[in-house]
Symmetry: none
Subunit: 191 residues, 4 copies
DNA sequence: CATGAATGAGCATTCATTCAT
DNA sequence: CATGAATGAATGCTCATTCAT
């Protein structure tokens, strides 16, 4: 017996993503996914019990993958500043390179699909970075009084906006601008 | 003859907003809007030619209204810092008090409904604040090298995230935290 | 008190006729009639209890009027041939000049609106001509054996087709052709 | 996979035809068709993209089929009179046996569905008979001066009316009456 | 009488899901 | 496993009719 073709699941996910960018989560239909993935509608239901489950599973996959990407190349031996910068750049890169995925995630967040449990899961993903900031503060690397959660929000929101305006063509990024942006954020940490 | 009730358009808009919060733009249907607004489906089509137009008009209304709110209480006689703070607080307040509206606007932004023209309109709304920062820089009130567009993004993204986490209950705001947040942003401007 | 404006009823009828030509009976709606007649929808219901009644009344009016036109200029003192020709020409003229009306009548005939009673009424309208042929036969003016009902059908069908092809531009009529057509029909009567 | 049932298209056509007779083209709805054909509404849209296309295709099918029936049993070796009679009877038979179809075709002709192209196609269908008459005239089989188009109209219109009154029960046909009718028409051709 | 806003049943069409092959 | 035809509930929208003004 052939095992369920795992690639097919990925092709389905990819198709859903492509469609989200084109028409938003609102516009996705099972038959459009099937056509984009070049399979029959019925086949979708072999891999996913319902449309809802397809969307849910895609969400979990994306959320997990992106959490991984945030910590790429990071390890404890790095200095605090280098560590922060690594993660900062990872996040910016992620928001730009995986823009399709980001759109899906944000739309999912305010869609009928999301559950409380998943909101909590999303919050958990932020823990590693948050903890890094905590440590930095304890070791006096961060001089501002502001609590680390606030600092984290400031970083996150900034990068998000940065990536968005870059993609939309309103503020195109290059090495210099990225460096300037990071400095701006770094200064906020208060040294 | 029953006269065309102008309030009704607002009741329809309100209903659409309530539904967006509940089920996302994806989940809105004309019959749900009608039920929420306590009118007949057919009546919707007296005020809006199609569903698309209803959504479009709501977008324009919200975009315009929010632009107004950003500049509330602001006038040229204020010192630069006070001016910035006024706007900063306006924006935070707006993102919190008009959360429903904000969700709609963001979903609209990545929906099949938005047009290029509307993206440009949204960009235009930011001009006043952007110009204020430009002036501040020229007058040496901002000491950082970073260009004002970047500064603006940093502010916007931060506030956005702040409001979001407040609403979601992950970082509840109070006067002290708001003050701290503003100081963080202000420091970024470089004094 | 002003009496119900009789002209308005005619304006409504005219509007219905214009629309039938444009979009067929199938395509007529009350609001289209109202717009074409330049009155409000509600007003239609002052003059006609329902859409069905409007259509019914229009039918009766047209059927009656056309019956009149068939016998125009005819009187008993005319010779048999002249009498037949008068009616023959009347009918041809009617089918051409009142083409709009004819279309309505034919569509009505196979629409959900018609009743058995009306079918009988339509049949009755043919009586005068039919009787003329009967008389002609009794007086030996018609030599063919065929019964007068058959002769009548032959005339009616021919004229109908003639008018139709003229209107459609497939066989444009002029004095000569009309004369030729009548001769053809006349010869059938058997002299 | 369930294979696409070609019979189903015919069942749908039949249902549309039955309904046309009952309520006219005006009264046809997709759900009525579905119910009459004993399938689900959605299924209709597997076989026809829109209601309009369903109606169009039915028209083309009927127009083509009836053209075939007109020429049944006819071949060049027949004498002129026998040839004409064959076609004449075919047409009468067609108008009676395929009355439902005829009604559809006539209603279609004055419906919003018809296109100029289709009107021309309908005109083309008449060519073979028309040509036969032309030949007859050239060979002196027809003695009247009248042009063959006129003769053709006379035949067509007569048969049409004949069939109609037969169906409506106003002039019931039998062998004798049919023979008499044909003789009437034949005499018109002028011998 | 006249208006046209309001109504809700009904229409054409779509879409998630099932099922025969 | 895979297919796509079949299903029927649900959608956006229209339309005959009513009703407040």
């Amino acid at each position: 017996m052939r095992t369920k073709d795992l690639n097919k699941k990925d092709r389905i996910f990819k198709a859903a993503l492509v469609l989200t960018k084109k028409v938003g989560i609102a516009g996705i239909t099972m038959s459009k996914i099937a056509k984009e993935a070049q399979i029959a509608t019925g086949t979708l239901y072999i891999y996913f019990k319902t449309k809802e489950e397809l969307i849910h599973q895609l969400y979990v996959k994306l959320e997990t993958e992106s959490a991984h990407r945030f910590l790429q190349n990071y390890d404890d031996s790095l200095s605090f500043k280098k560590g922060i910068k690594t993660i900062w750049l990872n996040y910016l890169k992620h928001r730009i390179e995986y823009f399709e995925e980001s759109i899906f995630l944000e739309q999912y967040y305010h869609s009928p699909y999301i559950t409380q449990q998943q909101k909590e899961m999303a919050e958990d993903m932020k823990q590693p970075v948050y903890r890094l900031l905590e440590t930095g503060k304890k070791n006096n690397e961060i001089k501002t009084q502001a609590d680390s959660q606030l600092l984290f929000l400031a970083m996150l929101g900034f990068i998000r906006e940065l990536a968005y305006e870059h993609i939309e063509g309103n503020y195109e990024l290059n090495e210099d601008r990225i460096e300037a942006a990071f400095q701006l954020n770094w200064r906020m940490l208060g040294s």
